[in-house]
């Protein structure tokens, strides 16, 4: 059997998805970045430095925790939580940031820019920029700034400049447009630290590689605890970096069922959602060919999700490919279902999950009860919910009636 883990090809393509669809000004930089990343991958010193920061700065490995009460509650599959929310800065985002900032340092770049939705990637970027003494500029949509004020303040505390983006609906896609505009203007000294497995090649592969530590650890930890591979993996997907990080090391294990959970917002049928695979068609945006939410004229439609981190009209190209070939099952969870799962997790396990991760948990609540007790299910608890207090408080009364 050919491996599913060899992509992308030399042109940055996963099947028909991915590529390098950017303005000419950026092409030389992207080629340089790809070459530099290839060199870094072969360099034992880079690996050593990365391992050091993962362990002593990020706090890896993150635990693989047997969620006993969740398991009892569901009455089926044995549920494990991969505790990415325990990382420094509270989410998986830092895994990628620490890798890219080490690369930026190698390339002699002094200025870091990034886009952020929920603010978790912005906080993680501001964190590593502070640690390495680099200038940091974060682009964030005004809608997201309103619903994630605590994270905006955290970024400022860490010394970053947060630039509000009013264009479009003021969410992640608009922030990414503005970051790309900054990048073409400041090519000489700026490193664009993309937060997910999207964008032009080499970003989707590079971010995946830095996040794959999640799946690698899971494999070893589950082997130590259960002596075997998991039967299923579940993770939420906006751009798809926490999911790709968990999934990638298992892609060639045909016995492992893999489930990606998109945000259905108010419901796919309402058109107000962020489910690019379940509700979109292929197109080209932000440097890659992938599934996009778009109208008949190819204009991009704004995504909707209660969780700012999933509020993006596209998805990483490797996910688009895995969907196309049927290796991963992509499903979706509504705002309401995610909120219910959020509350359940708080009360059953004493863990406040991010609203993003709550989408994955909601899928677990649907599936686990129908599975045998020896079925091992791993859920990526990609972030903690402290940042979501404002949003949840707003919905709390309504939600109380449902549980």
């Amino acid at each position: 059997m050919t491996s599913l883990r060899n992509g992308p090809d030399a042109k940055g393509l996963f099947g028909h998805f991915g590529g390098q669809y950017v303005a000419e000004t950026l092409m030389p930089l992207i080629h340089e970045l790809a070459a530099e990343y290839e060199k870094a991958k072969q360099d034992p010193e880079f690996a050593k430095e990365l391992a050091y920061f993962q362990r002593d700065y990020v706090g890896r490995p993150s635990p693989l925790y047997f969620a006993e009460r969740l398991t009892e509650h569901c009455g089926g599959a044995k549920i494990y939580l991969k505790r990415e929310e325990l990382n420094h800065t509270g989410a998986h985002k830092i895994n990628n940031c620490i890798g890219q900032i080490l690369l930026a340092k190698r390339m002699g770049k002094q200025r870091i820019i990034a886009e952020t939705g929920a603010g978790m990637h912005g906080v993680a970027t501001a964190t590593v920029a502070a640690r390495f003494g680099m200038q940091c500029v974060i682009y964030m949509g005004t809608t997201d700034i309103d619903r994630q004020q605590a994270n905006v303040f955290r970024m400022k505390l860490l010394g970053a400049e947060v630039i509000p983006v009013t264009a479009g609906t003021g969410t992640l896609k608009d922030a990414m447009n503005e970051a790309l505009r900054d990048w073409v203007t400041n090519v000489h000294n700026t490193f664009y630290l993309i937060g997910t497995v999207a964008g032009p090649h080499p970003y989707p592969a590079m971010v995946r590689d830095f996040q794959a530590v999640i799946g690698k650890e899971t494999r070893d930890q589950l082997h130590a605890q259960e002596g075997r591979l998991p039967d299923s993996l579940v993770a939420c997907i906006g751009g798809g970096s926490n999911a790709m990080g968990l999934f990638h090391p298992f892609l060639d294990e045909q016995s492992v069922k893999i489930i990606g959970v998109e945000a259905a917002g108010h419901g796919i049928e309402t058109g107000q959602h962020a489910a690019s695979l379940n509700g979109g068609v292929p197109g080209v945006l932000h440097g890659n060919r992938t599934f996009l939410l778009q109208n008949e004229d190819g204009q991009i439609i704004d995504a909707h999700s209660i969780s700012a981190g999933l509020d993006y009209p596209g998805i990483g190209p490797e996910h688009a490919w895995l969907h196309d070939i049927g290796r991963v099952e992509y499903t979706s969870i509504t705002d309401k279902e995610a909120l219910a799962a959020f509350h359940q997790c708080c009360r059953l396990e004493g863990i406040i999950p991010a609203l993003e991760s709550s989408h994955a948990l909601a899928e677990v609540f649907k599936r686990a009860p129908g599975l045998p007790k020896d079925h091992l299910m791993v859920v990526n608890l990609s972030g903690r919910g402290d940042k979501d207090m404002q949003t949840v408080m707003h919905h709390f009364d309504e939600q109380e009636e449902h549980i």
Binding site: Y21, A23, M27, K173, T185, G287, Q294, G298
Partner: protein, 269 residues
């Protein structure tokens, strides 16, 4: 011979540079935009770049972003943009029209259908910002096979090693983006432009047009001494943005176009 080649040949004989004007199709609405388009040749435009509106114009500055938003709000789409070209061609058979924009709307319509309709409408060239030569097979190759020129952007970051890759498959003219940045941003020095044109001429016989940050007749004249074409976009679009009526928008754009054209015609004395 293509309309673009014919036009640049004529201008070479007249010893003057081409005035290349950019407007966004459907900005601020279809009727006004069509009136501007039809008036541009008489106001001195030698080549017309017509922007295809897109929700996410990543390489454009504020002026053209807003033009895209206005056009989309007025329900402009790719089919209507092609219809505008068709209507323009009813009484103009010589001024080249180059459609400029981003790939996704074309991708959504389907490359084959888009090219068939573009040829039929009388489109001469395409500039697609997010299609570098690495993706020639997506649109550049089939466009040229259909007889439509594919105009490439070259930039200050396109070094000598990369230039042949970028120019390979270019046709019509070469568009030199004189500053690394978005449209409407600050302008380059004349020394930089001179060097860049000289460098491009070592690699290609195609006419070289300079764009980004050119706003006044004086700037246009200075560039016209050094290049085969001068592209003006954001400055024209600002006239639409500040107009209080459709008539003002038309007269604002055409008035500036006439001034720019005067500047160009006097440039090489």
């Amino acid at each position: 011979m293509s309309r673009l080649q014919t036009r640049f040949d004529e201008l070479k004989q007249q010893n003057r540079a081409a005035l290349v004007t950019f407007i966004t199709a459907g900005d601020p609405d279809y009727a006004t935009s069509l009136a501007i388009l039809k008036g541009l040749p008489a106001a001195g435009a030698d080549v017309i770049e017509l922007g295809m509106p897109f929700t996410d114009p990543m390489a454009d500055g504020p002026a053209i972003q807003l033009a895209n938003i206005r056009a989309l709000a007025a329900k402009q789409d790719l089919a209507k943009t092609l219809r505008m070209v068709r209507e323009f061609r009813q009484d103009n058979g010589t001024t080249p029209i180059v459609l400029m924009g981003y790939f996704n709307p074309i991708h959504k319509m389907g490359v084959e259908r888009f090219l068939a309709e573009a040829v039929d409408a009388g489109v001469d060239g395409l500039i697609v910002v997010d299609l570098p030569p690495e993706h020639n097979e997506d649109l550049c190759d089939p466009a040229q096979a259909a007889g439509i020129d594919f105009i490439r952007l070259t930039t200050p970051t396109t070094d000598d090693k990369r230039l042949p890759t970028v120019l390979n498959g270019s046709s019509g003219f070469v568009y030199y983006v004189s500053v690394a940045g978005v449209t409407g941003a600050g302008s380059a020095t004349l020394e930089h432009v001179e060097e860049a044109v000289a460098r491009l001429r070592r690699h290609t016989d195609l006419p070289v047009a300079i764009g980004f940050g050119i706003r006044t007749p004086e700037q246009a004249a200075a560039i016209a001494k050094r290049a085969d074409g001068v592209v003006v976009g954001s400055a024209l679009i600002d006239k639409i943005a500040s107009a209080e009526s459709s008539e003002q928008a038309v007269e604002g754009v055409l008035g500036l176009c006439r001034e720019l054209s005067e500047g160009l015609r006097s440039a090489r004395g």
